[in-house]
Point group: D2
């Protein structure tokens, strides 16, 4: 049900501490039906820039907010995760800005998990306003201890990436 | 002198309005000597998050600040560019977070231009603190009119991507 | 119904272009019943800092989001206002941080308008989480043209500050 | 040498945990000569908003950066302070926006300490671009333990507020 459709790609980069297994494998679909969860965010004025559109750095907090709401929706709220001593670090993030977002627009952030390894997983995103595609994105995550050492994905999380 | 070393890669995505030519071609080198310009940024407390490190969204403004200083350094300040009616839009951005950045650290942002097409170009980045690599990144840019329509790269800009 | 209870205070400062009439007159009440509107915001992880709490600069976008929702609620959405050629500038902002806000908390931002002059008005805010007071704030606003010249408050706006 | 010129004012608010002693006492002078330290910040594009000017929330990180540089300049870097188990919390912040700041402008942030009590102190700020006054501000700070409990100001800090 949460299956993404990873298209094999050569590694974007080898990562010290994470080895050759980490790479941006997911290719985000433009079809909302390919995603397992979605969350709405309304653009704040403080997120716009002097070009009159949402600054490109401001998309990443939207993705993060959607991740947090997703974890709550699947009954594994982020706070509970941190209480277990596990943090979810962001190892990589890539965004494609297709059409700008503007002040006061309501953005639907679709997401789906995939491409899990023993210690990492990926999330693909599609951002839409009404029927229009505005952006796609992929983030790569690793589970780490409070001290920052990579640890195995919790079993429930591994399951959601299948 | 400003030549990057694009390693051919399959397209991350085809982009409406920019066609098949746009893709994250550049693979950032881990060697500072591969870059043509660098700029220092000191981490602000307001850029950290509750994990005690710089929030991953806050790297993008560092890259942008380095781009602006680069344009000034090559005598094509961004303001002059905008006065000519040309804006440089961000079409894509990808960051790899290798080691966290912390409050008050001085980050050197190295950059090099490359992979130009008729209307787009790319920049590869390396972020270091002292001798340590902290992150790499690639951004893809397109020149657009104030109304957002893609236009040819100015000749001088095309030259810097060779 | 929208009446605030301005407690006269000496001017915080005389303002070039706005003269002696501008000052932080409102003293925010700690009683939610003293406010005419409220709006909920959930704290994002990206808004926290290395002290583990919401960074003090991040309260201002919460206030702004509440203002925007308030204008929508009273049928004068900000976009319509801007279409009339009127912008609402922030002339002054003051926040008192009483108890920290933390990641994932749901903050209720209460607001009430008051202290209008011919070209300015003020808003008092109370930020609560459950029954707890976390912060109070006041902002002073001026209506300006797109070119930044002060203009009379629209009549409907003046009415809401009575 | 670091003496500010606090103009007595009625308390903006009584603060739970800090008592009646806390209030915005300082009235920032418009004369740069009244300040004991200054630090330059260049406006980033990411700090502008769709009105084409720096978003009002973005001034607070400028003030914070200036505070951090000031502590370094007087040989009491913030890191050393935190290593002693003392954090400097922001209890209150007030900004007056007199003339907008724009992209790429170099802002000089002047500051001076004053109005110390046993556990709190205040800082007045003047923001200038060239000879022009753009904003003034006051922040109120309290020294707290890592657990957030108010503690006496370190002796050296009390001295700098005289």
């Amino acid at each position: 049900m949460f299956a993404a459709t990873p298209t094999p790609r050569p590694a974007l980069a080898r990562r010290a501490g994470y080895g050759a297994a980490v790479r941006l494998d997911l290719v985000p679909s433009l079809d909302p039906a390919a995603y397992s969860y979605s969350h709405e965010v309304r653009v704040r004025f403080s997120e716009t820039d002097a070009m009159g559109i949402v600054h490109h750095s401001r998309y990443l907090p939207y993705l993060e907010e959607a991740r947090v709401e997703y974890l709550r929706a699947i009954d594994h709220p982020y706070d509970a995760l941190r209480a277990e001593g596990v943090d979810i670090a962001v190892l990589e993030a890539a965004v494609q800005y297709r059409q700008p977002l503007r002040f006061d627009e309501v953005v639907r952030v679709h997401l789906v998990l995939g491409a899990a390894t023993r210690t990492t997983f990926q999330i693909a995103y599609l951002l839409t306003v009404g029927q229009q595609v505005r952006a796609t994105a992929v983030t790569v995550h690793g589970c780490v201890t409070a001290a920052g050492r990579p640890v195995r994905l919790p079993e429930w999380l591994a399951r959601f990436t299948e």
